[in-house]
Amino acid sequence: MHRNNDDNQSGQMTTLILRTASTYLMPLLLLFSIFILIRGHYEPGGGFVGGLIASIALVVYGYANGLKRIKSFLQFHPGGLIPTGVTLAMLSGIAPMFLGKPFMTGLWLDQQLPIIGHVGTALFFDTGVYLVVVGTTLTIIFSIGEEIDS
C-alpha cells in the first residue's frame, strides 16, 4: 500500500477518488453481501462469500478513511462477532433436536417470506458463518492495522 508521508492521518489512502467512491461502495457492498447470503442455499453464494464481501466493504472504507472511522462506525470490537456467529450456527444445528430430529436436520417454514424467500435453519447457520467471517477478517485487519499505526 502506498502511503504519502505528508499525510499525518495514519493508515489512510490519500486518493480523493477512492475516498469518495468508498462512501458509495460501502452500503452497496454491504447490501450485496446480504443478497449473496440469502440466496446462498440453492444458488451460488452463502454465508462465507457474503461475509467476505461484507468485510471487503468495511476494509475498503477503512483504508480510504482511516481504520478509526470504521471502529467508531461499528461501535464494538469485531472479535465479538466470532462467538456470536458460532453460537447462532450451533443453535440452528441444535434446533431440530428439540423436535426429535437428528442434529443439523434442515427445518423449513412452509410459506415463502416476501423478498427473503424460503426460510429455514440453514439460513441461520449461514448467517452464523457470515458473522464469523466478518469478525475474523476485521479482527485480523484491525490487529495488523494497529501494529502499522504504532
Binding site: P83, I94, M97, P102, F103
Partner: protein, 504 residues
C-alpha cells in the same frame, strides 16, 4: 438403535467454549465456567456410558440423511468408554489448569481452546464416517497448535514447529489414504466401508491403503520410527497442556487405529506383521530413550512413546484377549499419563525444577504428597495389583496364544526398563537428600499459593490416582468391559448393522 442425544457430549464442550469466549478477559469467571462445563460433560459421559452399556450401540445421522450418505455418529461401548475416560481426565486437567496457571499468562485464550480440543477428541470418538473423522482430527491439530504455542516463548515455538509440521504431514497421508479408499469403494461411511472393502478385488492396493493409514495415524500416535516429534515437543508447554496432550492426543490415534484396522484392514497377514514389528521397535526405542533422560517431562514423554507399543502390540496380535489387553491398557494409560504430567507440574511448582539432578528430598519433606504421587508412578510400572499390571498380563496371554515370542520379550523388556526409569525418578526425586526449594526471581512456590490454588494442584492428582486404583481393584469389571469391546471390534457385524439397518 437411533438416539440423537449421543452428540450432546460434543455440544457440551462447544457450548462451554462459546460461553468462555463471551467471558473474554474475565479469567476468574472462565476458570469456574471451564470446571463447571467439564463437570457437566463428565456427568453426561457417565450417563451415556451407562446407556450404551445397557442398550447397545446408539446411532444418529447428522442432517437426517440415511447412512451411508449422511454423516454417521455412532456410540458403541468403545466410543462411550473412551468419552468417559477422556471426560474424566479433561475434568481433572481443567481443575489443575484453574489452580496452576498464573494470571500473568495470556490465559484467557487457554480455556476456550482447551474446550475446542476436548470437543475434537470426543467428536473423533463418535465419528462413524472417515471424512468426518478427518475433520475432527484437523480440529484437534488446530486447537493443539494454539495450546502448544501458548505463552509464546522460544522453546514453545520450537516445539510447536516440530509438532505441527509432522502432524500436517500425517494429515496429508491420512487423507491420501481416505482418497484411495473412496476410489476403491465409493463410500466413506465406516460401516459401509467394512462391507465394501471385503469385496475389493485389488487386495494389494487395499494393503497399500492400509499402510497409508498406518503411517498417517502412526505419526499422530508416535510409533517407531515416526515418534521423534513427541519427545521434542511435549516438554515445552505448560504442565496442564502437556497433561492433556500426553494423556489424550496420541491415544486418539490409538483409538482410531483400533477402530479402522479392525473394521476393514485386518486380518491381513502383511499388515499384522508390519504392526507387530513396529510395536516391538516402539517398545524398545521408547524404553531406551526414557532410560537416559534427566528431565522429568522428557522422561515421561519417552515413556509415552514406549507405552504406545503395548497398545499397538495388541492390535498386531489381533486376538480377542490381546485387543482386550490393548483397550484396557488404553484406559489405564490415559489416566496415568495425564496424571504424570500434572505431577511434574506439581513438583516444578514446589521445587522450581524439572531436572532430576537438582531435585531431591521429596520423601522427607512431603510424605503425604509422595504417597499420592506413588500411585500413578507404580501403576505405570505395573506393580501388581496396580492398574498397569492387568492389561500387560492380557497382552502376554495373547502373545502366548499367537506364539509371538519376540513381542512378549519386548513387552517384558520395556516393562523392566520402565521400572528402571521410574526407579531412577524415585531415587533421584524422592529418596536422594537435597534442597527442595530453589528460590528464583518471580517464582511463586507452592507454599506461597492461596489455599484454593493448592487444592487445584492436589485434588486432580488425587482424583486420577483414585481412578487408577479403581482400574486396579475393579480390574474384573474393567476386564469384562474391555473384553466385550474387543469382541465387538473383532466381530463388527453388530456395529455395521446398527448403522446401516436403522430406518427411523
Amino acid at each position: 438403535m437411533t438416539d440423537h442425544s449421543i452428540l450432546i457430549p460434543i455440544l457440551i464442550q462447544l457450548t462451554t467454549a462459546l460461553v468462555l469466549l463471551f467471558m473474554w478477559n474475565r479469567i476468574h469467571l472462565q476458570r469456574r465456567a471451564s470446571v463447571i462445563g467439564n463437570a457437566i460433560g463428565l456427568a453426561y459421559a457417565i450417563y451415556l456410558f451407562q446407556k450404551v452399556y445397557n442398550q447397545g450401540i446408539l446411532v444418529t445421522q447428522g442432517g437426517g440423511w440415511e447412512a451411508p450418505y449422511g454423516i454417521t455418529f455412532a456410540a458403541d461401548l468403545f466410543s462411550a468408554s473412551m468419552i468417559l475416560i477422556a471426560s474424566a481426565s479433561g475434568f481433572a486437567v481443567s481443575i489443575f489448569a484453574a489452580g496452576s496457571m498464573s494470571k500473568r499468562r495470556s490465559m484467557f485464550v487457554f480455556f476456550p481452546i482447551f474446550h475446542f480440543l476436548l470437543m475434537g477428541i470426543i467428536g473423533s470418538f463418535l465419528a462413524g464416517d472417515l471424512f468426518n473423522l478427518y475433520v475432527w482430527f484437523e480440529l484437534i491439530i488446530i486447537a493443539s497448535f494454539g495450546l502448544i504455542t501458548f505463552g509464546g516463548g522460544k522453546r514453545q515455538l520450537e516445539g510447536a514447529l516440530k509438532y505441527v509440521t509432522l502432524n500436517l504431514l500425517a494429515s496429508i497421508l491420512f487423507i491420501t489414504g481416505i482418497a484411495f479408499l473412496y476410489g476403491l469403494t465409493g463410500t466413506l461411511n465406516m460401516a459401509d466401508l467394512a462391507l465394501k472393502t471385503a469385496e475389493v478385488e485389488n487386495k494389494n492396493l487395499l494393503t497399500i491403503t492400509a499402510l497409508f493409514f498406518f503411517v498417517g495415524l502412526g505419526i499422530k500416535t508416535a510409533v517407531f520410527p515416526l515418534y521423534f516429534w513427541l519427545p521434542a515437543s511435549y516438554h515445552t508447554p505448560l504442565s496442564a497442556i502437556s497433561a492433556i496432550f500426553g494423556g489424550l492426543l496420541t491415544k486418539v490415534g490409538v483409538y482410531t487405529m483400533l477402530r479402522i484396522f479392525s473394521l476393514f484392514f485386518l486380518p491381513d497377514p502383511f499388515v499384522s506383521n508390519v504392526i507387530t514389528v513396529v510395536a516391538i521397535f516402539t517398545l524398545i526405542a521408547g524404553a531406551m530413550g526414557a532410560m537416559i533422560q534427566n528431565d522429568l517431562r522428557k522422561l515421561f514423554s519417552w515413556l509415552i512413546v514406549c507405552h504406545i507399543g503395548f497398545m499397538i502390540a495388541g492390535l498386531g496380535m489381533y486376538t480377542t484377549i490381546a485387543i482386550a489387553g490393548a483397550v484396557f491398557y488404553l484406559f489405564h494409560d490415559i489416566i496415568v499419563k495425564t496424571n504424570l504430567f500434572m505431577i511434574s507440574g506439581l513438583i516444578h511448582r514446589i521445587t522450581g525444577s524439572f531436572k532430576l539432578k537438582k531435585l531431591g528430598g521429596f520423601y522427607a519433606h512431603y510424605p503425604s504428597k509422595t504417597l499420592l504421587i506413588a500411585i500413578p508412578l507404580f501403576s505405570l510400572v505395573g506393580i501388581p495389583p496396580l492398574s498397569g499390571f492387568w492389561p500387560k498380563l492380557l497382552l502376554i496371554n495373547g502373545g502366548l496364544d499367537t506364539e509371538s515370542y519376540w513381542l512378549i520379550a519386548s513387552i517384558l523388556v520395556a516393562s523392566f526398563i520402565t521400572l528402571f526409569a521410574i526407579g531412577k525418578v524415585w531415587i533421584e526425586v524422592f529418596w536422594k537428600k537435597g534442597a527442595t526449594v530453589t528460590p528464583k526471581k518471580h517464582f511463586v512456590t507452592f507454599g506461597e499459593l492461596r489455599y484454593i490454588h493448592k487444592v487445584g494442584f492436589v485434588l486432580p492428582i488425587a482424583a486420577l490416582g483414585a481412578i487408577s486404583l479403581f482400574l486396579a481393584f475393579g480390574a474384573g469389571w474393567v476386564f469384562t468391559v474391555s473384553e466385550q469391546i474387543a469382541r465387538e471390534l473383532m466381530n463388527p457385524e453388530s456395529y455395521i448393522e446398527a448403522i446401516l439397518n436403522q430406518n427411523n
